[in-house]
Subunit: 212 residues, 2 copies
């Protein structure tokens, strides 16, 4: 395991150097299955694809369904099928970076495989990890799956429109998160309804500006 | 990887023999984080713990929160913390079986780590796998994460009370599931509200009777 992680880290460092040279921000989006990563990307492309050059890497166990959903935005998209594998690694990312014209890309969003555990152990060479978690998964996810919430630069809490129909307790959620990462930016949104997304759009645009 | 799986399989075969000899049913419950495994166990203990001898193995990355929720039923519970690991394996199960008085147990429910991918690769020596999936994760989970749905003996679709507030399409879900496992029993339930659970209770009681 240590060997695998060491080799992954070496390649991640290479990827990070290349992206820095090309001034490309790379965001590694991690969540449970069905937390709303693809819907977040749909919204983000809808809002920003006209002014920012976006690329997407879609990590999936099998199928290209998520990539199909993003096709309408006419952005470069590459699918990585892990064929049963539970996370992306830096080698798979390195291999597909050639498919992008990095001189004409501002940000690459990597949608990792839906999994709250394994992807947080693997550095892809990203600029930062974004944790996406949905209210319908319950308020105990930062407490029960702490690794991702320690590693991430920001947390996006999705499906806030469904809080009235669930037993999600925001204060418990926030208390657990504060223990792990007290200053972390937290975006409270509904990707299907659009609630709260303006703050996210502004923040991600700022991150892209900083990397240029 | 093949070595790990081979050794896991050998130990799983041992576990399965022991449980068969002791006439104990073991159900390996697998789902994404927050799909409702613990709430299902709460409901099932509430309904059946007075007439059936239930034991529980709680697999968690860290914390014993799920076990704490089940304490009120006065049943034997063992926690396995994987310390960052993404699934249970047959060795960890074998080690904790000693903690149960198997002559006085009818069924052991194993709540696997919340993960729709890795746990489906590891035979624990269970009688069968139960796939739990919730409507709020979206209707595309069987299509996108087929391994579990091919392996499972039954599927429990949780959070049906939330369908009116989401874009979950039951027909799409069922069509994907039918492609993988056309005859699989499907329980449509709400573990928080109690809807549909009677059919589940009856079915699991039947499975326990068959194993005696």
């Amino acid at each position: 395991m240590k060997n695998i992680l060491d080799r992954n880290q070496d390649k991640a460092n290479e990827v990070r150097s290349l992206l820095k040279e090309k001034k490309v921000l790379m965001v590694n989006i991690i969540s449970s299955p069905g937390a709303g990563k693809t819907t977040l990307l749909e919204r983000t492309c809808e809002e920003l694809a006209s002014k920012i050059n976006i690329g997407v890497i879609e990590g999936d166990v099998t199928t290209d369904r998520d990539a199909q959903r993003l096709k309408k935005y006419n952005i470069p998209i590459v699918v990585i099928n892990t064929e049963g594998g539970c996370h992306l690694d830096s080698h798979s990312i390195s291999k597909v970076l050639d498919s992008f014209d990095l001189n004409n890309i501002d940000v690459i969003f990597v949608e990792n495989v839906g999994n709250l555990i394994c992807p947080s152990h693997f550095d892809l060479g990203e600029s930062f990890k974004l944790a996406v978690v949905s209210t319908t998964e319950g308020d105990d996810k930062p407490g029960k799956y702490p690794m991702l919430f320690r590693e991430a630069k920001a947390v996006l809490l999705n499906k806030i429109d469904l809080i009235p129909y669930t037993n999600f307790n925001f204060n418990s959620f926030k208390a657990d998160l504060d223990k792990l990462s007290p200053q972390i930016p937290l975006f409270e949104v509904s990707c299907t309804k659009g609630d709260g997304l303006k703050v996210w759009y502004g923040w991600i645009e700022d991150q892209i500006q900083i990397s240029l």
